[in-house]
Subunit: 190 residues, 2 copies
Amino acid sequence: MTNRGRVVKFATGNLHKFKEAQAILFNTGIQLEMVSAKTMEIQSDDLTEVAVASLRDARSREHGPLIVEDAGLFVESLNGFPGPYSAYVNRTLGCDGILRLLADSRGRSAEFRSAIAYTDDDLRLRVKTFLGVVKGRISDEMRGQRGFGFDPIFIPTGYDMTFAEMGVEEKSQLSHRARALEAFASWYLS
Amino acid sequence: MTNRGRVVKFATGNLHKFKEAQAILFNTGIQLEMVSAKTMEIQSDDLTEVAVASLRDARSREHGPLIVEDAGLFVESLNGFPGPYSAYVNRTLGCDGILRLLADSRGRSAEFRSAIAYTDDDLRLRVKTFLGVVKGRISDEMRGQRGFGFDPIFIPTGYDMTFAEMGVEEKSQLSHRARALEAFASWYLS
């Protein structure tokens, strides 16, 4: 029996994130279904730990193959800030806050990370995790209207555009989320 | 039977915080005992919610009367940042990061909040919570060597000194932590 064509639930409160993930997995034959249940998140500097805790929480309400994703922007000269708290920091300080923190020409190296945790319907809570990383730098100003979160200030290495200036397709060829989802899909379909 | 003289465990990984709490409760007759177990913290904008989740986690390992405390600095013009993530933000950006975020003369109003969650040894996990708040403003520069965390940049309303310039006794007459602990002590001893 193959997993191609099977439905996998994606527990997230972020519609942007869901749509992006759906587009990334479209060609693999995995059908994503959004489960909008707000998952509990723990405080940890480790994205994978956060994702696994959220998965266990979502598992208590949802049956069937299930993934959660936790993503974050890690700025090197800010000791990894905002990291696992990227959603909160985006809500309170926005992209502008990161630019202000880097205003006195600190190093602008940064990376986006995406951690995915998966579990199937097995009674023993078997969990698999996948990490995707894309390196880049923080731009000098916000640019672009696409994407979400810190996309307007992140320029992936080898490019001049921010994630928010790229189309979904272009972003999906190199993004942290795409890399994590592709690792998941490749394992899930094999 | 009175609770005076009884030992209450305080689950925290922060020795500064423990010593401060111990000094605040000294005259009440409540003896604090540090339980250094690292507690699990959830991501939530509500300090009390964070404290209650940490308490339930610590409860699974510790018996007897038990408290946990979660504290945060809430800067009004930063939409409450760093709030419940104050420990993480202090570790990554430090006091200097908050000063940089306020450099372009945004409003400097802020408050420190402390949430305490308590449970006794009752089999039904009965939880009581207490909140302490102190209003003030963010200083223009770091001042003082005492205290910990964001103390060097917080000036309580009606004072010219930062928390880090005050002695433990003076800080304990007005701090968020003192207010929350006094509310707890007054309830616990009655």
